[in-house]
C-alpha cells in the first residue's frame, strides 16, 4: 500500500460535502431572487428598500415572523438554562450516589431519546390537556381565564426532551472525573458548595457547555413536539415556516432561513470557543 490517497476517496469526500451543503447554498441564493416564485432564479433582486437585501427588509416588517423568532429564542434560552441545570444535577447525582431503582431511573432517563418524537408529542399533549381540564374545572375558570397550551407548555416539553442529552454529555465528562480532587478541596477547607463552585463545576464545564449547546439547538429546530404542545401566541419559527409552505413560498422564507442558519452558526462558534477555554 502506498501512502498516496486514492483520488476516489477525495472525490467521494467532496461528493458528501456537496450533498450536505448544496441545499443550504441554494437556499441562501434564493434569498436574493428577484422573482416572488421560488422555482426559478431570475436575477439578483435590486428593489427599494434595501436593494439586494430586499427580502430581508421585508422580513423586518413581517410581525408574524418577528413574533415567531422571539418565541423561538425565548423558548430555546429558557429551556436550555433549565434543562442544563436539571441535567447537570441529575448527572452528578447518578454519578455519586447509589440508591434503590438507580438502574431503572438511568434507563428511564434515556427513553425520551429513543422513543419517536411524535409519541412524545402526543403523550405530552394528552398530559397537558388532562392537567388543564382538571384545573379549569376545579377552579371553575371560564372563557379567557381558562388555562391552556402556550409558551409554558412548549418550554416544559422542550426541557423534557433536552434533559437526557445534557445528562449524557455531563456524565461522559464525569466518567473521567477524579473524586479525590473534590476531597482535596474539602480537605483544604472548602465546604460542599464552595467545592462545587470552585472545583467541580469548572472541571465539568466543557461537558455542561456541550450539553447546553445540544439542548439549545434541539429546542431551536424542534418541530414535532412543539407542533403538539404550542397554543395561541406561542408559534415558533419552524411552525411558522410550515404554515407559510401551505400557501406560497416567497424569498422571504429563504431570507428568514438564512438569518436562522447564521444564528445557529454563531452559537456553534461561541460554544466551541467557550469549551476550548474551559478545557
Amino acid at each position: 500500500m502506498s501512502n498516496r490517497r486514492s483520488p476516489w476517496l477525495t472525490l467521494f469526500t467532496f461528493g458528501v460535502y456537496i450533498f450536505l451543503y448544496a441545499p443550504i447554498v441554494v437556499l441562501i441564493l434564493f434569498a436574493f431572487n428577484s422573482s416572488r416564485q421560488n422555482v426559478v432564479f431570475e436575477s439578483v433582486v435590486n428593489k427599494e428598500p434595501c436593494g439586494v437585501f430586499y427580502w430581508f427588509c421585508a422580513l423586518t416588517n413581517n410581525s408574524d415572523a418577528i413574533d415567531a423568532a422571539g418565541n423561538t429564542l425565548t423558548i430555546a434560552i429558557t429551556s436550555t438554562i433549565l434543562s442544563t441545570i436539571i441535567g447537570t444535577m441529575a448527572a452528578l447525582g447518578l454519578q455519586r450516589y447509589t440508591f434503590r431503582l438507580k438502574s431503572f431511573s438511568e434507563v428511564s432517563l434515556y427513553i425520551p431519546i429513543v422513543i419517536p418524537e411524535i409519541v412524545m408529542g402526543i403523550s405530552l399533549l394528552v398530559l397537558f390537556n388532562g392537567i388543564f381540564n382538571g384545573l379549569n374545572n376545579a377552579m371553575q375558570l371560564a372563557g379567557d381565564q381558562r388555562l391552556g397550551l402556550g409558551l409554558g407548555t412548549v418550554i416544559v416539553s422542550h426541557i423534557a426532551f433536552s434533559v437526557p442529552f445534557v445528562v449524557l454529555t455531563v456524565r461522559a465528562r464525569l466518567h473521567s472525573f477524579d473524586k479525590s480532587v473534590e476531597e482535596a478541596a474539602m480537605d483544604l477547607g472548602a465546604n460542599e458548595w464552595t467545592t462545587f463552585r470552585r472545583v467541580t463545576l469548572p472541571m465539568i464545564m466543557p461537558g455542561v457547555l456541550s450539553g447546553a449547546m445540544l439542548a439549545f439547538t434541539l429546542s431551536l429546530d424542534d418541530f414535532i413536539i412543539t407542533f403538539f404542545t404550542n397554543g395561541p401566541g406561542s408559534t415558533t419559527l419552524p411552525i411558522y415556516v410550515y404554515g407559510l409552505l401551505r400557501r406560497t413560498i416567497t424569498p422571504e422564507v429563504n431570507a428568514l432561513s438564512t438569518v436562522w442558519i447564521m444564528v445557529v452558526l454563531i452559537a456553534l462558534i461561541v460554544s466551541r470557543r467557550l469549551q476550548r477555554r474551559a478545557a
Partner: protein, 367 residues
C-alpha cells in the same frame, strides 16, 4: 512531645457492598492507636488491610461505624473534613487541573480567610520549601510526577496543619525518585515539626522514614513499634513474614523455661528459641529466623547448629543467598554478606555445611 496528636479509640468501619446492600464488610475492625505530637507515624500493610480507610477517617472523608477519632484531644464526631485541623496529600496528587500551581497552593489559605497580602508570600515560601520556586504560574499538567507530588505537599503544608496525612504519596513515582523523596520528606518533617501519618504498603519505605510503625492486616493493628522493634521482634507470623525476609521452621514445643523454649523439629532435631508467651508442651508452632542471622560453617559456638546440604546459591552483589536443606528436610535461606575483598562463595552447590544461629535470633511464633 507527649501530647497526643491523633487518637483512635476502638474504631470500626463497616462498608456495605455498594451494589447489593446486603454484605457488610469491616474494613477497620476495632482499631486503637495513639499518635504523638511531632511523630512520623506509618500505617503499613498490604492493600485492603484498612490503612487507607483509617487515614480517611482521620481526614473526615469517612465516618467510623463505631468508636472515636480524636485530633489534639478533641473528639471529631461527625465534623466534616473542611473543619478538621488536618491536611492530606493524596496518592494521585489530586491537584486542581484548572488552576495554576500558585492558585493550587493558595486555595487552603483563601478558604481560611487569610488576608490577600499574606497569601502571596506564604505561597512563595511553601514553593521554596519544596524546591519549586518560580513555578507558581504553571499549570499542573506541565509538571512531572515528582514535581506535582511536591506541589501537593506544599499545598497541604502551607496551611500549617496540626497533622499531615499522606496516602501512599510516593506510590506513583519511579524507584530512584521515590528514594530521593523519602529522604526529602523525612528531612522536611523534622524541619516543620508537624505530625506525619504516612500510609504505605512498602515495608522498606516505612522502616526508612518512620519513628513508629503500625502493621495492619485485615482491618486490625497487629503490632506497633519503632523500625527495629518491628523488624527484630515481630509479635506474630504475619508481621514476621510481611517485614523483610524470614525463615519459618515448623516444630513442636518440647519444654519452656521462662523466655527460652526447646522446640522439636522433624527428623529428630531440636532448636532453642526465644518465646515471649507461655505455650503448652506439644503445641505446634513456627520458629522464625532471619536469613542474615544464620551463618554457614561459622567457627563460633552457637546454641543451634545443624547439618545441611546446599541446594541453591544466588549471588546478588552485596550478599549471597544460600538455599540449604537441613537434615529434617526443612529448607532455609541463609544470607552471607560479601564483606571481604574478592569474596568467594562459602560453599558450592551440593556441599555439606553447618548452619548455626543464636537462640536469641530465633523466635517462637504461634499460628
Amino acid at each position: 512531645m507527649g501530647e497526643l496528636a491523633v487518637e483512635l479509640r476502638d474504631v470500626v468501619k463497616e462498608f456495605s457492598d455498594s451494589e447489593q446492600i446486603r454484605e457488610v464488610v469491616a474494613a477497620v475492625n476495632h482499631v486503637s492507636l495513639q499518635i504523638h505530637d511531632g511523630e512520623f507515624f506509618s500505617l503499613l500493610g498490604p492493600s485492603g488491610c484498612g490503612k487507607t480507610t483509617s487515614l480517611r477517617m482521620i481526614a473526615g472523608f469517612e465516618l467510623p461505624t463505631s468508636g472515636d477519632v480524636l485530633i489534639q484531644g478533641k473528639p471529631m464526631g461527625r465534623t466534616p473534613p473542611f473543619q478538621r485541623p488536618v491536611n492530606t496529600v493524596f496518592q494521585n496528587y489530586a491537584l486542581f487541573p484548572h488552576m495554576t500551581i500558585g492558585q493550587n497552593v493558595a486555595f487552603g489559605l483563601e478558604m481560611k480567610g487569610v488576608p490577600k497580602a499574606e497569601i502571596g508570600p506564604r505561597v512563595q515560601e511553601a514553593l521554596a520549601m519544596v524546591r519549586l520556586p518560580g513555578y507558581d504560574k504553571r499549570k499542573p499538567r506541565q509538571l512531572s510526577g515528582g514535581q506535582q507530588q511536591r506541589v501537593a505537599l506544599a499545598r497541604a503544608l502551607v496551611n500549617r496543619p496540626a497533622v499531615l496525612l499522606l496516602d501512599e504519596p510516593l506510590g506513583a513515582l519511579d524507584l530512584k525518585l521515590r528514594k530521593e523523596m523519602q529522604l526529602e520528606l523525612k528531612t522536611l518533617q523534622r524541619e516543620v515539626g508537624i505530625t506525619f501519618i504516612y500510609v504505605t504498603h512498602d515495608q522498606e519505605e516505612a522502616l526508612t522514614m518512620s519513628d513508629r510503625i503500625a502493621v495492619m492486616n485485615r482491618g486490625k493493628v497487629l503490632q506497633v513499634g519503632n523500625s527495629s522493634d518491628i523488624y527484630e521482634t515481630p509479635n506474630c507470623r504475619f508481621v514476621a513474614d510481611f517485614i523483610g525476609e524470614m525463615n519459618f521452621i515448623k516444630g513442636i514445643i518440647q519444654a519452656q523455661a521462662g523466655r527460652s523454649a526447646t522446640v522439636g523439629l522433624d527428623g529428630g532435631l531440636t532448636v532453642h528459641a526465644r518465646c515471649e508467651q507461655s505455650i503448652a508442651a506439644g503445641t505446634e508452632i513456627s520458629v522464625a529466623v532471619r536469613p542474615e542471622k544464620m551463618n554457614i560453617d561459622s567457627s563460633a559456638k552457637m546454641d543451634n547448629e545443624f547439618q545441611g546440604r546446599v541446594v541453591s546459591i544466588v549471588y546478588i552483589g552485596t550478599d549471597t543467598h544460600y538455599g540449604i536443606r537441613l537434615a529434617g528436610d526443612q529448607l532455609v535461606r541463609v544470607r552471607e554478606q560479601n564483606n571481604t575483598p574478592g569474596s568467594r562463595p562459602l560453599a558450592s552447590e551440593g556441599a555439606e555445611v553447618k548452619v548455626s544461629f543464636a537462640a536469641e535470633a530465633a523466635r517462637v511464633l504461634t499460628a
